[in-house]
């Protein structure tokens, strides 16, 4: 049978993300319309993806993440991109890995049950060092749990969901504006470190509408992967040039590139019985993130107290931070010395920053919409220097500010 050729029209429609110029960015901006918009977190993620140069989305609908794919299904074709509804979440990650390797920045979006299914291929993306963005709009679990309610139950799964030794990056937005900003950042990190990046939003922010100001081209940095600089005949897809991040040749550009989930040599070909090759590979996969922690990790420090003061610390991330902001105002009005650390980068975990807080604080309160996840990371980083008070809540509602106030005062 004769292989069917793509129609010239389809060929001309599809454009890989690169090069992403000011003109491309402004084209997206024109399609998105007004500069100030009132949109949901899920929509802000879609907008952020388009502005970051995402040109491929594959996903399977699931509450509360569906809107992201829905919006991209309307907008991606307008910028020469592709949106596919896949048969499931396993295939969705498979598709975005392939698309990324073929030269398009790519993304999928899901919620807890789908995120569980994605883990196998997230490991494949980590092993093959394929940049891609996975949005997890967290809802209550385990299993199908509460579809229309938000939660923060996938923090540990985001890091440890696939087997073996690997590192990736996970970010937690607190506002709808940050859903947009951190989606752009997620793409930049994925492209910089050749790694899957997880955006951990939740059902509350995902469906919450807020004012969002769309950035101008001058306000953002859009990063593109490190393409080969060496001659084609010398190119090795997993050669470490000293940066621990290999150059990435896009499939079909003439470079000999082979990727596999098996342990591989720098050539890309399997080397499954070689202990040195395996060790070198997984060490590099982890070290390319670990040795760049300082560049990757972002937190928001609100430590207004003097170094000599003994304070009460609060550590929060994601939507829970909104309740904490309100509680901190109340507590400080009442004269309490409060230090607040908001975690933006959940993985790699900001151990140093948490340790710094534990040297100032007598106790640290950790509110989360789960039964203890970041609490464990905090405990490890604090290493017994102060008390840790977990404040867990499940069922779909966020902490009220007064619940946090009471926990800080020790009356809750």
């Amino acid at each position: 049978m004769k292989r069917q050729k793509a129609s010239p029209e389809a060929e001309s429609k599809y454009k890989p993300a690169k090069p992403f110029t000011c003109e491309d960015f402004n084209r997206v901006r024109r399609i998105l319309g007004e500069r100030v918009v009132f949109i949901q977190g899920d929509a802000a993620v879609s907008y952020g993806a388009l502005l970051a140069g995402c040109r491929f989305f594959a996903g399977y609908p699931i509450t509360p993440a569906t809107e992201t794919g829905e919006i991209l299904s309307r907008l991606l074709p307008k910028v020469g991109g592709i949106c596919i509804q896949m048969e499931d979440e396993i295939a969705s990650v498979g598709a975005i890995i392939g698309a990324s390797r073929a030269g398009a920045k790519s993304m999928t979006a899901t919620s807890g049950p789908g995120f569980s299914l994605m883990q196998e291929n997230i490991g494949y993306a980590a092993m093959t060092e394929t940049p891609c963005v996975i949005v997890d709009v967290q809802r209550s679990g385990p299993s199908t749990g509460q579809p229309t309610e938000g939660a923060q139950g996938d923090i540990m799964q985001a890091k440890w969901g696939s087997h073996g030794d690997y590192e990736l990056i996970a970010l937690s937005p607190t506002t709808v504006q940050e859903c947009l900003d951190l989606t752009i950042e997620a793409f930049n990190l994925a492209e910089t470190y050749s790694v899957p990046v997880i955006l951990l939003t939740d059902g509350i922010i995902g469906h919450m509408r807020e004012k969002v100001v769309l950035p101008e081209f001058k306000d953002v940095e859009i990063i593109w992967r490190k393409e080969p600089t060496r001659p084609k005949e010398e190119f090795q897809p997993f050669f470490d040039d000293g940066t621990k991040i290999p150059e990435m040749a896009i499939f079909g550009t003439g470079y000999h590139t082979y990727i596999t989930g098996l342990t591989h040599a720098e050539s890309g070909y399997p080397a499954t019985d070689s202990q040195p090759d395996h060790h070198r590979l997984v060490r590099r996969l982890c070290d390319k993130i670990r040795t760049n922690r300082e560049r990757i990790i972002r937190v928001e420090r609100d430590f207004p107290n003097a170094h000599t003061d003994r304070t009460t610390g609060i550590i929060s991330y994601g939507v829970t931070s909104r309740s904490v902001y309100n509680a901190v105002k109340t507590l400080r009005r009442e004269g309490m010395k409060i230090d607040h650390l908001r975690i933006i980068t959940n993985w790699p975990f900001p151990e140093k920053e948490v340790a710094e807080l534990s040297r100032r604080a007598d106790r640290i309160v950790v509110p989360e919409l789960n039964l203890g996840q970041v609490y464990h990371c905090v405990r490890e980083a604090v290493a017994g220097r102060c008390d840790i008070v977990p404040l867990w809540k499940t069922g779909g509602e966020m902490h009220t500010p007064s619940e946090i106030v009471q926990a800080v005062k020790g009356t809750g």
Binding site: P147, T148, E210, R322, G396
Partner: protein, 186 residues
């Protein structure tokens, strides 16, 4: 100042859209707004809640703590949330859909013909926009012009005329009750 408005109804009565339109109008007024909602898995008939917080300042906690204004289009919604209104707050209920008397815990309680007005205009589906009209004239939490603009961008063009009529009628109803009370605000 932070103003919290809570709409409660059955799914399908359009209160999520009402919240979205109100929030958009507040943004156009140059303020900040957050709109959240909760509903069951069914698209119609279950309990639905839509909340809008409007403030000149940044909005940290995005949920209602104590409502300044409760709008109830369903009995279970009213019963559940009537006690969570500020002492100085306002309650608006649909006179046919909610059976309630002034709880005397708030500064103003109004029973208004939202659904009946929509019926008179020929389609109950615009009840939510009648509500918006009354909320606008009674609370003045958003500017009338920006609210009309937000309605225009959010309803299908085919039904724009009907919705604008619904808004005007709702606005009038609100004005009337204020005048009857002799406390009509400018």
């Amino acid at each position: 100042m932070r103003t919290e408005i809570r709409f409660v109804a059955f799914g399908g009565q359009g209160i999520v859209l009402a919240g979205v339109i109100l929030g958009e109008a507040a943004i156009a007024d140059g303020k900040n707004a957050v709109q959240t909602q909760s509903y069951g898995p069914e698209s119609r008939g279950g309990a639905a809640k839509s909340e809008v917080i409007i403030s000149e300042e940044g909005i940290d906690y995005p949920m209602v703590m104590e409502a300044d204004c409760l709008v109830a289009l369903s009995q279970p919604g009213y019963d559940r949330f009537v006690t969570e209104v500020k002492p100085g707050g306002i309650i608006l209920v649909d006179e046919d859909l909610v059976d309630a008397d002034d709880p005397h815990t708030v500064s103003a309680f109004y029973r208004l013909p939202f659904a009946k007005t929509a019926d008179k205009l020929g389609n109950r589906i615009v009840t939510n926009v009648v509500v918006l009209g009354s909320v606008c004239s009674i609370t003045e939490v958003v500017g009338k012009e920006n609210l009309v603009k937000a309605i225009e961008t959010n309803v299908p063009e085919k039904f724009l005329g009907l919705n604008l009529k619904a808004f005007t009628e709702g606005y009038k109803i609100g004005r009337q009750v204020l005048e009857q009370e002799g406390q009509g605000r400018k």
